[in-house]
Amino acid sequence: MNYNKEFDNNTEISWCPGCGNFGILNALKISFTELDLSPKDILVVSGIGQAAKTPHFINVNGFNGLHGRGLPSALGAKSVNKSLKVIVTSGDGDSYGEGGNHLIHNIRRNIDITHLVHNNQIYGLTKGQGSPTTAMGQSTTLQSDGMKVDPINPISTAIALGCSFVARSFSGDINHLKEMIKAGINHKGYALIDILQPCVTFNRINTFKWYKDRIYYLDSEYDPFNKLKAFEKSLEWDDNIPLGIIYKEEKIEFLDRFPHLKGKKSLVDKSLDPKEAEQFIEEFI
């Protein structure tokens, strides 16, 4: 699949050869190309981790912030410039661990952001410790005798919170992934896309083959608007892992909840004049 080469930059990519992140990076570039977006109109925000390095490897606007804090910065950016397409790319540790609180509250806001979670079920950057999605009992470089806490189910969590767009994809299927990313970007509201992604260095359990053997695709019969069915679907894991848009909900987008912003220019384009605040002095006289 081709993409517009203007999305390339000449930065050296520091991921391990064979890393699942490459597939996600390519799918992003293809999605932007197919959506006919211009680099200057896109902002990719991240926290910290291997996945969070993504903004450096693609020519769009980028903000590589603090660990776990990509979402709040993305919210600030989108709130003041609604014409920017804002994408958050971060890992399972960043999104579900360090930044878990922001996940909950931005789902509540339904801000128009596409959140890609590169979910490799392990900590890569810090060399192999358990992540919020590592399976119970799985041994890691830190938890050598196995994980003692249950993994979080991000899909169930998001559905329970009423997330307006919840999807799962796989970095090994760029075609499916780019369709999910495009649908997420086109969705006006908060889109969570949990992307299964093998870590070739630190996760010897959830390998490319492990995922390949278990994934299946939701067909056109599946109704993502049925919350109970979606919740049931979200509980499938072990031997059968569903990919696709698992849940959707009609909801008013965050910025549309501010009546005074409707139909107006973005705040970044408003003209500023201190004299306009003089009207407020009246109540102090």
């Binding site: 930065t11 606007n61 590589n64 014409s83 922001h102 501010f258 500023l272 201190p274 002095i281 102090f284």
Partner: protein, 558 residues
């Protein structure tokens, strides 16, 4: 002429409304008014009090020699009656008992019920207060009419009248002559400064005593066309503000010590990414939850280096509501000009203290964004973190220039904004960032000086200590002491010219601060080697006031 009134009661008795209206009436009558609140961290019950001081001359601090006490609860007798002057008046309803010839009991609740609205019982007392002060009832009707709908306003007018005629005058009051003043508190002034200074996005998490900044800005969200977002925590609040600022608008966040502690990592983010950011820290006594509704100046040392690593930063403390307004606008301009972090320090005392100050002048305010447009830059060679002579690189608004993208990174980065571990680049970028402190030093504002032209004793303070020090200096001078005071607003980088000048000739330097360790004195010693021989410190959560500073200087220094 100068009178001190104390209103005491429990939370939920309507003391705030009583006080706001009385202050407004006095202000409209042309007096200078100063009021401060002492409240407990609870919504109902407890004992709270408000002190209102007014005069025909400007007032800067409170005083505890009381002319009138209005007691809405028995605790007012227990806690405050010893401060009532010999010729003072204790005014109360029948439910409060104080066997003293200064007590005037009015059946406030009974009268209010006769009028048909039990809630107006306080207004009966207000009528009595004005009569006792020997004042006319001018301005009362207009203040009530602005405050309430017709029906409520009418019953309050009736209540006022009944109270007014129930008592005899005890004092004489000269006519007030103050003109073109406004009545505003410290946090409202910061909030209005933020709006006037062009803040388009304000994100914060509620925390006493900073919340009223957010509340005020939020109340103007539609008219001023901006967004106020209540974040899920202070970490989110500051990272939101940074994201919005990176995108191109003016942003601000505000909190108190505990929330500021949570924000510290992100202060460094603003620093390394050179993103303009203004953070207001309205201090309360720590550590941890401390005394949530009380005052202290104990975050200074912490704020000077808060966040790991080294970043350029400016810290300024506001001295009164007027200063708070103009300094907030200035902080926003400096943040944009030098693409850096500016921290505004306020405290609970000043946040909640209402004062008459000169009406703000909006004509001389400017919003200087220092944003580069397509014609200002060389598109082919533009690099967001290019090393320049001044250390400042042109900044653009995202998405506005065809063919231009920008990346910011919390890692050390190249001129293009990409991650690097190069020793050379690290050194260049550190120097680039820190260099702007030299430029900032050129435009620092020296501390205010008042007092003797050739002082023997120099008092030093910062921020909200301004009012108390100003009056205390006058009192000491009246006693014939050669005393002067330096009060710092800009505090880091520390302006040192006046300090060095006075320190050469004075005999004693006395540091006056609202904390345990003498944090300003430490900063002064660190930056100049100048040693403050004496300290007047207080850390019980209650503000040092003029008479207190005066007496402690007399006892402990002179």
């Amino acid at each position: 002429m100068r009178y001190n009134i104390l209103i005491g009661g429990s939370a939920g008795q309507g003391m705030d409304t009583f006080s706001v209206l009385l202050e407004k009436i006095l202000k409209r009558k042309g007096y200078y008014v100063f009021s401060n609140k002492d409240y407990m961290s609870r919504v109902r019950g407890g004992h709270n009090f408000i002190q209102i001081r007014f005069s025909t001359e400007p007032v800067y601090s409170y005083d505890d020699e009381l002319d009138i006490i209005i007691g809405f609860d028995q605790n007012t007798v227990n806690f405050h009656s010893d401060k009532l002057k010999e010729n003072g008046v204790f005014l109360c309803d029948e439910n409060v008992k104080w066997e003293d010839n200064r007590t005037i009991t009015i059946p406030m609740l009974k009268i209010a019920k006769e009028i048909g609205h039990a809630r107006v019982f306080g207004t009966v007392g207000m009528g009595a207060v004005l009569k006792i002060l020997g004042m006319s009832d001018s301005k009362v009707d207009e203040v009530f009419e602005t405050k309430w709908e017709k029906e409520t306003s009418e019953s309050n007018k009736e209540a006022f009248k009944r109270g007014y005629h129930y008592v005899e005058s005890r004092f004489e009051s000269k006519e007030g002559t103050a003109e073109n003043t406004i009545l505003i508190n410290g946090n409202q002034a910061i909030a209005l400064g933020a709006i006037a200074g062009g803040v388009s996005f304000y994100s914060a998490y509620p925390m006493t005593p900073s919340t009223s900044i957010m509340t005020y800005i939020s109340s103007k969200e539609t008219e001023a066309n901006l967004v106020v977002e209540q974040a899920e925590d202070e970490i989110a609040a500051i990272n939101m503000a940074i994201g919005a600022s990176f995108t191109g608008v003016r942003t601000m966040t505000g909190t108190s010590g505990g929330g500021f502690s949570l924000m510290t990592e992100a202060l460094g983010l603003a620093g390394i990414t050179e993103i303009p950011l203004v953070v207001a820290n309205v201090q309360r006594p720590g550590p941890a939850t401390g005394l949530p509704t009380r005052t202290e100046q104990s975050d200074l040392s912490f704020i000077l280096t808060a966040s790991h690593g080294e970043i350029p930063r400016m810290v300024l403390a506001v001295k009164d509501p007027e200063d708070a307004f103009y300094q907030t606008v200035r902080a926003l301009n400096i943040a944009d000009k030098y693409q850096m972090l500016v921290i505004i320090l306020n405290d609970q005392y000043l946040a909640d203290a209402t004062q008459t100050v000169d009406e703000f002048n909006f004509d001389n305010l400017s919003i200087d964004r220092h944003i580069a447009t397509a014609s200002d830059i060389d598109l082919e060679n533009y690099k967001r973190y290019e090393v320049t002579e001044s250390g400042i690189t042109p900044r653009v608004i995202l998405g506005k220039i065809e063919g231009l993208t920008v990346i910011a990174d919390s890692d050390e980065h190249t001129e293009e904004g990409h991650i690097t571990e190069s020793s050379e680049v690290r050194i260049e970028q550190m120097q680039k960032r820190m260099k702007r402190m030299d430029l900032l030093r050129e435009e620092l504002i020296e501390p205010d000086y008042f007092g003797d032209e050739d002082p023997e004793t120099l008092l030093i303070g910062w921020g909200s200590m301004y009012g108390g020090l100003r009056e205390a200096t006058e009192l000491l001078q009246k006693d014939g002491h050669k005393v002067g005071s330096l009060v710092f607003g800009d505090i880091y980088p520390l302006p040192t010219n006046l300090l060095e000048q006075y320190s050469k000739s004075v005999k004693t330097i006395v540091n006056v601060e609202q904390n345990y360790t003498g944090q300003l004195a430490k900063l002064i010693r660190q930056e100049t080697g100048i040693h403050c021989e004496k300290n007047i410190l207080k850390y019980d959560g209650r503000q040092l006031y003029a008479k207190e500073i005066y007496s402690r200087i007399k006892e402990e220094v002179l």
